[in-house]
Point group: D2
Chain length 151, copies 4
């Protein structure tokens, strides 16, 4: 139906790059992007990263397996974004546990870092209890972890 | 910096096609996309349409010329969208006045129409009063109007 | 725990009045409230109206009965709201069908009408099909309908 | 115009309590409140706290004095909220600098803590540079700081 290219990002080595444009909805009356919206951009980027890694969150949820929820997040806001800016969210997997994954996410405007964040996502059963991530997902994340330095 | 393709849409004849993906933030606990969010998608598509037509809204606002505001909107919700759906907003310019433009916008999932809307946007001075649209913008819109049938 | 009064509205005759404050998140860089957000305010007001009328949407959803979805909406934007404004959404039930209800909603700033809208809400089964509204809900809405003029 | 009580919170000693209800817009398809929305609730609570402390952010912005922006935030998500929950944001001023203020904010459901966060807000000039907070604001915050233990 649509002839435009699909939106979404891709992997560059172990970094996932996700582009996005700033619209009216993203800004507030100060003229800058509203601070909570960076969390939305980072979530879009994580969902796209999972998709690019072959992980189907919707199927897992509909099959009753579970869903990711953010359990911890810290973010530093360095510089603001404005209407019509073209940003890029760069995400890397930092650490992998049985039920959790730690992701480092930076929102960039060209070569400038606007925000710098660390997000802990926990996999939850539909009843909301922490649950081991599906095996193929763990395998997918393992390929994205930084290589251990050799001794 | 980013190596992914730019997000955004393009013209297919006089139709503007704008693709978008549905993320967690777009849905509500009913499992479907929250109804107000379609207005956000349509605004993104209109901003992208203006950009594709060579209109720079940010420069006009910063130069103190004015800004578009929605003055009227009607929308019919036909079918719902869900998490991870890839949608396309198809926009066409229907009617052009001195200070207003009427845009027809459909949100599509493949060949299925999810919503059907008509939006009246009014150009406003920074003081909030209706104001003639910049001449080059009127000229740009004129090329997007449906051709009058010949007599 | 909290000692502050509960947020929410109440009925004044057959009109439901719902107060709300405008925060940073509600505005955009034009300095005004972003147009799609009025739909959020109207939805909050409708949910509060149902609650005030004794209707428990969450229980009905969790019991698998169904959920309301907006099927049609038209809105006229007359005047803008700004950061820190205290608004009131005034809602009245206009028409009642088996599976639908039509609600008239105005967003007010003091005595000034900012937006004027008509919303059609349809009750849907969890599979997304139109479904007769629960009997006690129809009874509740009937008390809110305008009185027929006597002949 | 409205006869309903004003929404908003109030001080209980040095704690600011801000009540809020969860609506459709706040949730996502997992059935829980979307994680980024807690930042919106905390911002509403901070704005209300300033208002209760006699600080008029809108007047300061319109007079060209400046505006607060979040410069750092860390949040732990302990338990989820759901549609129709009545929450309370409890905020306390922890630390005061010349251009910054550190606020501790907990979102509560009754006696249960759902989220626990620390927010650093920086006062910025309209050009976006850090700037000393207005003197009367510093005075207002000083009355909200925890008392130093006596020696």
């Amino acid at each position: 139906m649509t002839s435009a290219p699909h939106p979404g990002g891709r992997f560059v080595g172990r970094e996932h790059h996700f582009p996005l444009r700033i619209y009216f909805e993203d800004t507030d009356f100060s003229g800058l992007v509203y601070h909570a919206n960076y969390l939305r951009y980072m979530e879009r980027a994580r969902s796209d990263m999972l998709k690019c890694a072959g992980i189907d969150q919707r199927a897992a949820f509909e099959a009753g397996e579970g869903v990711y929820a953010v359990s911890e997040l810290d973010i530093k806001y360095k510089r603001p974004a404005r209407f019509d800016d073209l940003l890029c969210v760069i995400s890397t997997v930092e650490k992998l546990g049985g039920a959790t994954v730690v992701i480092h996410q930076r929102v960039m405007l060209g070569d400038e870092m606007l925000t710098d964040a660390r997000v802990v996502a926990a996999f939850l059963s539909r009843e909301g209890r922490p649950k081991r991530q599906p095996k193929p997902w763990i395998a997918a994340f393992e390929t994205l972890l930084p290589k251990e330095p050799k001794h």
